[in-house]
Subunit: 231 residues, 4 copies
């Protein structure tokens, strides 16, 4: 099935399990406005599984994204994340192999296969360059390069790391988009990482813990846009 | 928080990952009608995580039930099943430790704790008598006794197994309700198992694979009612 | 099969994966001398799987103990820990469900079953009182009560925690021996915990990181003996 | 550290958890004789963890191989497979990611790293061509291509599958040796698979379940030698 087109730069608001329900919805609606304002960008918003439908129903421009997806087909699979259920609820992208839920290699492969069957964009997480290169052989749509040790620290990857992962992945498969998001916590971080030639970036606690999360979200998206489009 | 009251006999329609979206919704609405017709019974319907909100919004009498729940609190937990998200979407019960997703003992304990915090009924699965006894120490609301080897075979537990598990569990904690559901595939099976003194029962493929699933669902609920209320 | 008799107080030297080969062997031989000196006590020494045979061949009085064991029978099971291989190499006891390797409840049950088949003493780890009570239903030989948050901190469980776990477990099954080992780092800690009515205790980094590990091991065993036998 | 040199063709006798103790030792000694007879070949023999030392001590020519290894360093790691312990016991190769113990991608990476640190040959298992290609990016020494569905069936991979996996892996990294072993159950199977340009092959139940396991082992090794060296 066809997947949604991913436009550059893309921005991923990933509130993980920090938010759900009304609080999440309000930020998703704000992200949706920004996605309408910047049609040249793709804005992704992740949601807990049981929030996906609510977010999808109330938004039109963002790409609603699942935090995980199992490589199963309809049938038994009690307690696992059914791809058809996610798609039907409105998810059009999914994370896989996040550092908080590392997967077996054969699970990554079967989940990518099911995502491709249904037209779901795959965002694979790598916490080292060698992992990024192995994942690149699986032809995901996006690889997120995030050294585990930087998650949640507020420290971003430096230019050398970004360049090294970019070139390592593009050497394997130049069609894969590259997301760099380690430690992004300010609009300046967003601006800098896009200037370093990431195709996209994103943020979790830099937004959810901000004094004004909505404003931070808006400013980060704007920073990504500016970095990509202005010299 | 207060949990919903569980009335006896209860019936659990557990379509696992066989159904999602519209097809699941139609059967859930039928179950809801039956729950209205038999207010002396509790009718549970499970749904994939991303279908919970849709099912909850369209029903009023059934207990919408999650297939699993992680024992996490709002925060990181990327890819895990957030209790608050489930509750907010309308889930008021959850399975734990199903044979298709066996859990670590410390995970079972933390999930029960979070379910109790939020007012979510816990349905713990045991595939042997000794496992049922250990789980009974954790004070769940319901224990489902289902010898793994019988799942999906169409063979039901016999009277001796039912009696043994009932007495083993009640010896540990007589407040726990006991569900017997191994191999239930016809209304007669439902009738017999309730007559054997199960507090409740349920079915998956006996309904989803029936020529007329809606009729099978209705007949099974009726059989449970009859077995419990008539001599 | 018959298991070795467990004498009280028992002491468990558990070097985890800190030691292997020659360094481990030297301490195991010292423990063996102490076990000969105090025949009224049981001295357990754990070893990495591939060190079990070497330790067993060079000792005669200690109970050589595995760090884990899978509940499998001879056959496929590639990469899993075969009970028959452990027994044949000389292991006569095994840990299960340690905080560094928590197990699924059904795995704990099958491992205990296999240990009982072969005559291997089972040491189950619980990191909370409710977990200890659930584990007690499985009739292990020893339960180790070790609140996860104290491991490696040098803080020991206080008298109230010890008393509570002791009485919780004995209420379920008074035949189970109780090991309390959280934060044990000096001979005084050993003395005190045995005086608090633990059946046994043990130590990891308090010995392996001591200036003189051999002396520390000897002093701890002596302290356990003194606490149990003298007023 | 330097690894042992792998000579072609190689033969892997992998009795998994079917054998341990004396029965395993006898076959390992026979394999050792064959390894002496055919110095141009490498003969690997796997053993359960607790049997590795015994096998190593009694053999001189085979490469004693572990069924698995965790990517840990000496320290806590209770219940995990310590690389230093394996090496010290005599293991000079290890399987990783076998279909009976599939690993997380980050675990595979850390285990390979530790194996390279110590000079342990890595044998990575792939059950599909795409998995083989991803694993090839990790620079293991050997990749075993074994479509999961053929394991234990007695059906071997056909020439087209062998050719496809060989070329897929060599395109990524031509230094990796390729083992094809799916369904090998007779000396003829061994002969044919080596003629199809596998660098090595191996067998489990074809040997352990043979009327005369020792004879079967000898004949298979001979068949590998003949296929590689004669036209």
């Amino acid at each position: 099935m066809n997947k949604l087109n991913i436009k550059r730069p893309f921005f991923m608001f990933n509130p993980k399990s920090y938010l759900y329900g009304k609080e999440l919805l309000e930020l998703a609606i704000e992200a949706d406005k920004q996605a309408e304002k910047y049609p040249e960008m793709s804005i992704f918003v992740t949601a807990p599984f049981a929030d996906i439908e609510m977010i999808s129903k109330s938004t039109h421009n963002i790409i609603v994204t699942s935090q995980h997806m199992d490589g199963i087909i309809p049938g038994r699979g009690m307690g696992h994340i059914l791809p058809e259920s996610l798609y039907n609820a409105g998810a059009r992208a999914t994370f896989l192999n996040h550092a908080e839920q590392p997967l077996k290699l054969n699970e990554i492969i079967s989940s990518i296969q099911r995502a491709n069957d249904l037209g779901i964009i795959t965002v694979l997480c790598a916490d080292s360059i060698v992992e990024a290169k192995a994942l690149a052989m699986l032809k995901p749509d996006i690889i997120l390069c995030e050294p585990t040790e930087l998650i949640g620290t507020g420290k971003t990857s430096n230019a050398s790391y970004v360049e090294k992962t970019n070139s390592a992945i593009r050497e394997v498969d130049k069609n894969i988009l590259i997301m760099q998001a380690a430690g992004i916590s300010t609009p300046e971080d967003v601006y800098n990482i896009i200037k370093m030639k990431a195709d996209g970036t994103g943020c979790t606690s830099g937004i959810t813990n901000a004094v004004n999360p909505k404003e931070m979200l808006v400013n980060m998206i704007e920073a990504a846009y500016e970095a990509f489009n202005n010299d």
